[in-house]
């Protein structure tokens, strides 16, 4: 019979119980959707890596004899080894010059390491030297199919390659080129061609990369070190383990973000649910105190009363988490499908992950049960005599806050609203906490957007002030810049050297792109704090992530490998870079350091209306490998960010829903508890509108206080949140635009205003004569 009472208690307070159940639902659906998505993505990558024999380590170096692979194979602990050539060619598609990275593969058989997943067509047949495999993203973007012929150009020679198949590669799930995160398929593709074909083009008997597996995983760093030594005489450009492999590192960072979010935000929401349940059950028990007295007087045990009220929270937890795990699972599948659609994996793995669903159910029941136990124990401990008399919660006269606001005369109704705000301090604290929580969720979502906008603004409006970047296949002299400037529509053009350096420090080493340039206005070195740095006359200006990784400080002597061999210099200074890290020095200094004349890149400022034509003309110049358009990169980044914006939208929705549920809950309880007062006011002649205003004032006061606490707290949490995204690969500035503050506050106050509407409906429909006669306490 008591169980039936639980159901009736809930059904007579449907709105309030639904509000609390919804908070649990939000927490658990977020937890299960994010955590299962994280596991699904992790499983997808692992499965793909396993199927394709993904490398354990790799070394990139200047061209070396293929025979050296034998030396690598001899190293104890090394498993399969694949040596290959990777060279950049170019290709015309739809009148646009694109870069095509040509990577060699064995003739007639898949490479032993980093096998390719054939999406369409077949692997290159044995002896079909004029065939190639094209990476899926590039083929899809340009509408290229298996069987078509492409004509890339390499070292001045034009090739005719038949596409045998469209493929996915474990190395390029996330395409990162020379530390550039945002490589658009519009401007760059990857093709795999038989080694013999590539060899013919001036690389006879040579390789410039080795990728291998290691069966003795514990000795991985030692084995990689030994292998690196084999190629050191030829100039090691970069080396990395599986964890440091650019694509994998970016994916793992992203996964870590997913995992953190899946615990942090739901944990926060469930913490709020404890307060929500506590407030709701306190109200219920307060109202039912005489019933508790009767039950106890009839002979029901304390524990029976305790379990009876505990059942309410268990039921809320059960229903909320059941709906949460079901929704969470569906969302996890949708998120996995959506996410894997953005990156380059041929398939996705989704599993129900019952252990997570069970953990979700358990957590969803545990949190409300904690709150339920606290309050149910209070109910069970109440003395029968006291319970029969009525409320066990002392009636407070409220905090007379209006006495501290002497500036203007206020009506008694307004005073009443102000006092009611703090009438039940625990509840006021919970309401304020809910506002704080909602602000934090709402602001955090928008801060993410602010940071990206700021980073992109910094990168594309301040750092990169040019429209086009011309990359040459080798160093060119001063006549090249004259040639560029002579094109009609070109306003300014400056030379750069873009190269790489592998810095060694103790037993650590790190590869970073190195840019040599004069002080000019088309390429500026801004740090995260918007401070401008000059290209150093001597020494290297190092990005902070690289400097800290290698424990390097200003003025310290450094040794590093370059495309021209081992060199030495000093750290001129360290700066906090935005987005991806690059090192800088002056053009003269870099020319002397490398021993080269001229430059290999020219940056160009053009009249906007001439950009397309100038790009076409630049592509036709001798020795030009590639012309990159800043506008294309920005477009691509915006495309990539669409997924993030969807995520931000859902975060905003969740934050707003949480705020609404929590505030609605307390407002409804407040109204229910004070219904006799409200009915009396109506009887006295106050209109529903006047009472609505009084309730609005109460909610606004809570809103103002919650906002005052919430904004600085959100600022701090947003800082931690954004810092968690920063890594060696990537840094974004911490900035909160004024619009974020304004929109967050507006949204909160809209939520607060809307959350009193159901209460107002109740007031306007209440049976005032009946309510005025109720004995509440």
């Amino acid at each position: 019979m008591l169980s039936r009472k639980v159901i009736r208690d809930i059904s007579t307070r449907k709105g309030m119980f639904f509000g609390v159940t919804f908070i649990i639902f939000l927490g658990i659906s977020l937890f299960s959707s994010f955590y299962i998505s994280y596991l699904n993505l992790s499983d997808t990558y692992s499965d793909f890596y396993e199927q394709t024999d993904f490398e354990d380590a790799a070394i990139e170096f200047n061209y070396a004899p293929v025979e050296l692979l034998k030396e690598v194979r001899k190293i104890d602990g090394v498993g399969e080894v694949t040596g290959r050539l990777a060279v950049k060619g170019s290709m015309k598609i739809n009148n646009e010059q694109v870069v095509l990275l040509l990577i060699s593969v064995p003739d007639g058989e898949q490479p032993k390491v980093n096998k390719l997943f054939i999406e369409k067509g077949e692997y290159i047949p044995e002896g079909a030297y004029s065939s190639c495999l094209l990476i899926n993203e590039f083929a899809k973007y340009h509408g290229i199919h298996a069987g078509q012929i492409i004509s890339p150009e390499l070292n001045g020679q034009k090739l005719q390659l038949k596409i045998a198949g469209i493929v996915y590669s474990p190395e390029y799930i996330w395409i990162i080129e020379e530390d550039n995160f945002f490589v658009s398929p519009r401007t760059m593709g990857i093709a795999f061609i038989p080694y013999k074909k590539l060899e013919e083009l001036g690389y006879k008997g040579k390789i410039n990369q080795v990728h291998f597996t290691i069966y003795d995983k514990d000795r991985r760093d030692e084995i990689l070190g030994k292998a690196k030594k084999v190629f050191e005489p030829y100039g090691v450009k970069n080396f990395y383990t599986r964890e440091q492999q650019p694509s994998n590192q970016a994916l793992q960072l992203d996964l870590a973000g997913f995992r953190e979010l899946s615990i942090m935000i739901p944990g926060f929401i469930l913490f709020i649910s404890i307060f929500a349940i506590y407030v709701l059950l306190t109200r219920l028990i307060n109202e039912q105190t005489p019933n508790i007295g009767v039950l106890r007087a009839l002979g029901f045990k304390k524990n029976t009363v305790l379990f009876h009220y505990l059942k309410h929270s268990i039921l809320i937890g059960f229903l909320g988490s059941l709906a949460g795990v079901i929704t969470g699972y569906i969302l996890s599948v949708l998120m996995t499908v959506q996410y894997t659609g953005v990156i380059n994996v041929p398939y996705y793995v989704t599993k129900p992950h019952f252990e997570i669903l069970l953990a979700g159910m358990f957590t969803g029941i545990l949190f409300p049960s904690i709150a339920g136990l606290l309050i149910a124990k209070k109910a069970a401990d109440i003395q029968i005599v006291d319970a029969l008399k009525g409320s066990f919660e002392p009636q407070t006269k409220g905090f007379e806050i209006d006495r501290y606001i002497p500036f203007f005369k206020m009506s008694v109704l307004t005073r009443l609203s102000l006092r009611n705000t703090f009438r039940n301090r625990k509840r006021a604290a919970y309401s304020m906490f809910s506002v704080v929580a909602a602000i934090m969720l709402i602001m955090n979502s928008m801060v993410f957007m602010d940071a990206f906008e700021e980073a992109l603004d910094l990168q594309f409006n301040k750092v990169l002030n040019y429209e086009l970047e011309v990359r040459y296949s080798s160093y060119v002299n001063s006549s090249a810049i004259k040639e560029v400037k002579s094109i009609q529509g070109v306003r300014e053009a400056y030379p750069l050297i873009t190269t790489w350096m592998l810095i060694e420090s103790g037993d650590k080493s790190k590869s970073v792109s190195l840019i040599g340039m004069d002080n000019q206005r088309l390429y500026n070195i801004y740090d995260l704090r918007n401070e401008l740095h000059m290209p150093p006359p001597d020494g290297i200006l190092l990005p902070s992530s690289v400097a800290s990784n290698l424990s390097l400080i200003k003025g310290q002597k450094i040794f590093f490998f370059t495309e021209k061999g081992k060199r030495e210099s000093k750290v001129y200074d360290v700066f906090d870079h935005s987005l991806t890290p690059s090192a800088f020095t002056s053009l003269d200094y870099l020319q002397n350091l490398l021993g080269v004349d001229g430059y290999n890149t020219v940056i160009v400022n053009v009249n906007p209306e001439d950009e397309e034509r100038v790009q076409e003309e630049l592509e036709k110049l001798d020795g030009v490998l590639q012309v990159n358009s800043k506008a294309v990169i920005i477009d691509y980044i915006n495309q990539l960010l669409e997924f993030s914006y969807a995520f931000i939208f859902f975060s905003l929705l969740f934050g707003s829903s949480l705020g609404f549920s929590a505030i609605f809950n307390t407002t409804s309880i407040n109204i229910m508890e004070r219904r006799r007062e409200l009915a009396t006011l109506r009887m006295l002649g106050y209109t529903t509108r006047q009472m609505g205003f009084a309730l609005f004032v109460e909610n606004m006061l809570i809103g103002i206080l919650g906002t005052v606490i919430g904004i600085p707290l959100s600022y701090f949490v947003a800082y931690l949140y954004l810092m968690s995204f920063s890594s060696e690969l990537f840094q974004i500035p911490f900035v909160i635009y004024p619009r974020t503050y304004v929109l967050s506050v507006i949204l909160i106050f809209v939520i607060l205003a809307f959350s009193i509407l159901p209460g107002l409906r109740y007031i306007s429909r209440m049976n005032i004569e009946k309510v005025t006669k109720e004995v509440i306490s």
Binding site: Q395, T396, K397, G398, S411, V412, L413, R415, L416, R419, N420, R423, R676, E677, A679, T680, L681, R682, M683, L684, G685, Y686, T687, I768, E769, T772, K773, V775
Partner: protein, 231 residues
């Protein structure tokens, strides 16, 4: 001042019709003290609610100084309560977060020309307790605040629903005395609903209700001083 013409109130519970009031006709004069007497379920409160404009009759008319109250909409009824009616409840219904004075001022803010709050608190003998919260007042004092709250608006009619029902004998008598004096001195009409027949001895007229119908209306030529009451 108040005329009830053939007032009926019929509730429908499922297929059953319950006649809470049947064919009720009576008038209330200015400055009259009327007690409506009847057992539980006789329709006393329903009658009070209809007069007070918080319920509407199923049939019949309620005329207040010539104005047809039954034709008013929700807003009109609110204005009617605001300007013409004062309420005194059995359970006082004071706002616990407001002091005695503030509870009274709360009502005064509804009308354009309210009475002076100190004067009103003086009438109910609560000047010294004006800044106390309801939780700091006795039952009798709370009911006096409730009366002060009713008269501050200067209404021509006060409706009191079992005003002594939640008070001890001595306090109840005092409250009746206050109401009687206000009626006499201020010229405010009172309709007091009660099941306590002893109280009726203080009334100018006694309306007996039975099964929703007026059983009889008795005129009390010599109303008793509440001090002399006993129950």
């Amino acid at each position: 001042m108040l005329t009830l013409e053939d007032v009926w109130k019929i509730y429908r519970i499922g297929k059953v019709e319950v006649h809470a009031l049947k064919e009720v006709n009576f008038e209330v004069e200015e400055g009259e003290f009327i007690v409506v007497l009847g057992p539980s379920g006789s329709g006393k409160t329903t009658l009070l609610n209809i007069i007070g404009g918080i319920d509407v009759p199923s049939k019949g008319k309620v005329l207040f100084r010539g104005m047809d109250v039954t034709s008013l909409d929700e807003n009109g009824l609110t204005m009617h309560r605001r300007e013409h009616i004062g309420f005194v409840f059995q359970f006082f219904n004071l706002i616990p977060t407001l002091t005695a004075r503030e509870n009274v001022v709360l009502a005064s803010e509804l009308v354009e020309n309210p009475r002076d709050v100190d004067e009103v608190l003086g009438i109910v003998g609560l000047k010294d307790r004006a800044n106390h919260f309801p939780s700091e007042l006795s039952g009798g004092e709370q009911q006096r605040v409730s009366i002060a709250r009713a008269i501050i608006k200067n209404p021509p009619l006060i409706l009191a629903d079992e005003p002594t029902g939640n008070l001890d004998f001595e306090t109840g008598k005092k409250i009746l005395k206050y109401m009687r004096e206000i009626c006499k001195n201020e010229g405010i009409s009172f309709i007091v609903v009660t099941h306590n027949s002893a109280i009726s001895e203080t009334a100018d007229r006694i309306v007996h209700l039975k099964d929703g119908k007026i059983d009889k209306i008795m005129v009390n030529e010599e109303p008793l001083d509440p001090d002399k009451l006993f129950w």
